[in-house]
Amino acid sequence: MTATIQLNGVSKFFGNIIALKDISFEAHQGEVTALLGDNGAGKSTLIKCLSGVHAPDEGEIIIEGKPVKFSSPRQAAAAGIGTVYQDLALQPLMSVSRNFFLGREINKGLFLDLDKMSEITRREMAKLGIDVADPNQPIGTLSGGQRQTLAISRAIYFGAKVLILDEPTSALGQKQQLEVLRTVNEVRNRKDIAIIFITHNDLHARLIGDRFTFLNRGRILANGNREAIDTDNLRSLMAGGAELAELEAELKN
């Protein structure tokens, strides 16, 4: 099976700072690729390279076998990269359906086709297990997890083949985190979308991940699938492996 998206030796420099060096990994449709790393590991820069905000300085990005180069987020979106940022890019005072279609509204003649937009929003949200009673209610009435689902279902509806989720659980309460993981699982079950799940929560990664990539200080620390990485290994890689061992030694003294 060819990977939906593949990175070969991608590097990104900002002046003399090496933000990413020689990053290679792949994500397959119907799978969740968990991208783990501590703050400052280069996760954000990597997302920006994938979603067309930054162009990599070295290496290539291959989508469905074809090398691609993005000069804008719009191009990346057109190529099937759907990015759901932490802030979700939602308008808190606007309605659910208007948020869903913002920037890509459906018109009937001169005016918005509000009925059709509501209907599609309700249908697409229901596919991911959220029943929106009234798509005309302001988004402020949705829970954090439901907003996350809205942003995800919007990305899918507008043609995402690769869904990048940037720390989707980090700003949420326990119950809502599980709600989001359930949504991610629904997306995986569609079998046609490759999910890149960025997190620093090893528990969530282990729950939902099929493949794992560990980033540390801009480099890949380890790559592996579910079988290759057991829980202890995962936890120690998350904490930076050797660094954790050093700290352990320090604390014992």
Partner: protein, 351 residues
């Protein structure tokens, strides 16, 4: 999966979360108050049934309301235009000067609109390119517009108040009759209608802009630009273009009033539109527009303009209340409305 915590929003609740709710009550209170006060002072019929009395507040509401349309659209997009009042004088002077220099009425109107649209384009471009607050940018133009209008007319024709009556009358030797265009543009006279033309323009503009705001893509983008510009850009909304267009709409509305004022009064006054920008912003705030953007409505601003006009003219019909108290009352209304709107907006956010 059914979320058991998802509450159904009742129609009553969705009515309560409409931005214009506060101004509906405000208007009811103002009307009842002034009906009672005029009854006490024996001027009820003079204000509420006499055509001249009705004209007084309806025409003021239309004048302020036309500006308030622009003010509310801009405020929803998160911006201000303080130069509106001054632009009325600038447009009036430009129109009057063009007539003085022999330009026929229709081209003079068109040129004035193009000038003012260009001014809006400049202000909008400065705001979106420099990131300076529009409050500061348009404050600059508040000084500059009126100053430039008077400077031009004094330099070119050595007058600061320009009478244009001769240019709006039929020429003695025959030829094209400028009153025709005057009648079409400021059509009240032609059709013997009871109100000045701005009242009808106001009605038409309210309908067009209210539909635009709630039922078109552009309206959606206005809310998004003021709600969270960064998030709007992330989904492809051309925020800068939206804001620049709204500044152009704002200057064109001022232009409409400037030209109409010259046509109805037969002269261009350098003090035309003084303080009207503040009245329009007050109307927009009373009507439920959030100062930080993202929330509000044109209909609310219209109700706000009527509240302003009824209070402003009504005070003259109530001799036992000092006129100066009107400003105190207006000030308190703006504060009260802003507080009420903040409360309502928080309700929407919490659900």
């Amino acid at each position: 999966m059914e979320d058991e915590r998802l509450r159904k929003v009742s129609s009553l609740q969705s009515f309560v979360s409409r931005p214009e709710l506060g101004s509906v009550f405000g208007l009811a209170i103002i009307v009842v108050t002034f009906m009672s006060l005029t009854t006490v002072s024996g001027t009820f019929s003079a204000m509420w049934t006499n055509p001249i009395g009705i004209q007084a507040w309806v025409e003021l509401a239309a004048f302020v309301g036309i500006l308030a349309i622009g003010a509310s659209l801009l405020m929803i997009a998160g911006e201000f235009d303080l130069s509106m009042g001054a632009n009325i004088a600038l447009a009036g002077h430009s129109f009057a000067l063009l007539l003085t220099f022999g330009v026929p009425v229709l081209p003079a109107i068109l040129i004035t609109f193009i000038e003012l649209a260009f001014l809006g384009f400049i202000m909008g471009t400065i705001v979106v390119r420099t990131g300076l607050p529009s409050f500061i940018v348009t404050l600059g133009f508040w000084f500059a517009s009126r100053g430039f209008a008077v400077f031009l007319s004094q330099t070119l024709v050595n007058q600061s108040r320009l009478s244009v009556k001769p240019y709006l009358k039929p020429p003695a030797g025959g030829g094209e009759d400028p009153t025709l265009i005057d009648n079409i543009f400021a059509f009240d006279k032609a059709f013997g209608l009871p109100f000045d033309a701005e009242v009808y323009y106001f009605a038409i503009l309210v309908i067009i802009t209210a539909f635009m705001l709630h039922r078109t893509r552009f309206g959606n983008w206005i809310y998004a630009s003021g709600g969270d510009a960064q998030a709007a850009r992330a989904v492809g909304v051309p925020v800068n273009r939206v804001k620049i267009s709204l500044f152009m709409i704002s200057t064109c509305l001022a232009c409409l009033l400037g030209v109409l004022t010259v046509m109805t009064s037969g002269a261009s006054d350098p003090k035309a539109g003084d303080f009207r920008e503040l009245h329009a912003i007050a109307a927009a705030v009373i009507g439920g527009c959030a100062l930080m953007g993202g929330y509000g409505s044109v209909i609310g601003a219209v109700l706000g303009a009527f509240i302003f006009a009824i209070a402003s003219r009504g005070i003259n019909f109530v001799p036992f209340i000092d006129n100066n108290l009107f400003r105190v009352m207006l000030g308190m209304m703006v504060l009260g409305a802003a507080l009420l709107n903040q409360f309502l907006r928080n309700r929407v956010l919490r659900g």
